[in-house]
Symmetry: C2
Subunit: 386 residues, 2 copies
Amino acid sequence: MADHSFSDGVPSDSVEAAKNASNTEKLTDQVMQNPRVLAALQERLDNVPHTPSSYIETLPKAVKRRINALKQLQVRCAHIEAKFYEEVHDLERKYAALYQPLFDKRREFITGDVEPTDAESEWHSENEEEEKLAGDMKNKVVITEKEAATAEEPNPKGIPEFWFTIFRNVDMLSELVQEYDEPILKHLQDIKVKFSDPGQPMSFVLEFHFEPNDYFTNSVLTKTYKMKSEPDKADPFSFEGPEIVDCDGCTIDWKKGKNVTVKTIKKKQKHKGRGTVRTITKQVPNESFFNFFNPLKASGDGESLDEDSEFTLASDFEIGHFFRERIVPRAVLYFTGEAIEDDDNFEEGEEGEEEELEGDEEGEDEDDAEINPKKEPSQPAECKQQ
Amino acid sequence: MADHSFSDGVPSDSVEAAKNASNTEKLTDQVMQNPRVLAALQERLDNVPHTPSSYIETLPKAVKRRINALKQLQVRCAHIEAKFYEEVHDLERKYAALYQPLFDKRREFITGDVEPTDAESEWHSENEEEEKLAGDMKNKVVITEKEAATAEEPNPKGIPEFWFTIFRNVDMLSELVQEYDEPILKHLQDIKVKFSDPGQPMSFVLEFHFEPNDYFTNSVLTKTYKMKSEPDKADPFSFEGPEIVDCDGCTIDWKKGKNVTVKTIKKKQKHKGRGTVRTITKQVPNESFFNFFNPLKASGDGESLDEDSEFTLASDFEIGHFFRERIVPRAVLYFTGEAIEDDDNFEEGEEGEEEELEGDEEGEDEDDAEINPKKEPSQPAECKQQ
């Protein structure tokens, strides 16, 4: 069928349609004669119905209606799940009270207020176990108090720089610590997590306890994280448990000239009229771990944050979560480094994933839900910036 | 100082020591004269004390003794944590009962036993919302029952092939499904999770409910996962919550000639004496999703599994965990595909991480603990092969 047979007296639309029809026919002929193209095409066609959303589109209205009913049920499930996480939070509060006597003992051993007994400090490490099995029974696995005291070594009080060493060992924290923060952090004696009271909005407070020092008069610096455990109205299916939505710091009462979060710069100022130049001093923000206690506000005036601020806030939430979930409950393992390697491996995995996300053009939603069937965090809470 | 000045009358050990001393001196001289080598060396020296375990080695015995005391406390914390997870499991059991009426409704809508009311099937999708905002108020966002019934479309019963579609959509499952499994899986009508009773050893059962079919007589196929929520004696610090340690399947009562988990092969057999050849038929295992109900045993005779078997078992545990944590609680989102993309992104991250681990020669422990501060799974349970 030649193109010209349609070109007399028919509207141009029809001509176009006819041309397309004709081209379609030609193309189809070509394809049908080329087995390799045909095979490739067949493969593509086979794959089309496997895209779940396109499959849903092909379903009759009556079925779509039933799927909508299932979605309604799913939203109700999300709200039940939110209640579940509130009860888990209650459990966490209950268990925090059970951990506390052990954490108090930990603090006493660290500060040196109490010396552990020989029974309390007995420890069989894996290596020692192997040596014992190898028949070397002379190898003592317990350092007795007497032995430790008579050793020709210094005997400092408690475990010096315990918490500061953790700050050095954990990359997420050491990145924030400046050289001038270090002497201050050496006075850190304990970190506690306090959960919100029953019936109160879900939150937790990190308490940083300092011994008297030359830098500030506070004995405790606090950081409060506010959480939310309810499905988002606009996106209820993304609910995966409580998330940190905002945080609050505290005022640090710096001693004179000791505030490391500001620096004084000199600035030359020219008098407009007279043209004379004078040097003024001005205080500007300075990088420091102690800015952790003066965070950005996520909520408040309803204005949305810029991208940099959102990133800063998300990092802050991640650090708060990490203190609560890992460092405070397992401090000694971050001091010895036993907990570090695993976390590092995890972080590498995380980075890999983000790269994948960035490269994925089909990604519709940046809010990636993750499941982790092999190893899971110790408590079901999460931090995600709202 | 020349080497020969020490070579007369001194034992060879001393000569060696002196040579070393002399070499050391020379090398030191060379280094001190080369600022670039010096800088590189300084950097390495600076990094040494940052390795946590080497830092611990340098501490006085009295301090090491106190660290051992903290480790003892940490083990006690792990045992308290185990109790916490048992209580979380109790909560999960309690909430399973709250979800059940919604899951029962879901089943009725899927099978078509009950038709949702117009109110029950109302659903405003995000796109529809946008269209409404754009002023197109004619766009109806609810498919009424009447409308669905009068549409010139087929009206099948319920949501046909609901669970089978999920099997097709989820890679972890579709990998297991053979072509001959598909007609069987189309008869799958519900999947339920049943938790162990209070006081019983921690476990859960996946129940696969089938409508009457031509393949087997069972109406329910079950897979039981046994869990453990206590710190490992040899490695108490690795405890991160309950883990799957073993599983059990069920016997499928296949109708005659319908068992897809075996195939019949023909084999020629030569008679030793007479030399005649006869053809015998033999049943051998066949790949099929239904082998999921005939898993390897992790425990039992005390013999350890080979690497392949361990991998198979670990994959099985992962699938069981995924059914329990994701598919059963959020089935409709795996049917529509809304839940798929996020999980895929997660899996990519996981793979990246494993590669990192394999390439990491310093990795001491394959048992990688992971924390996930951004998004966490809905329930604190994990599957890890013992």
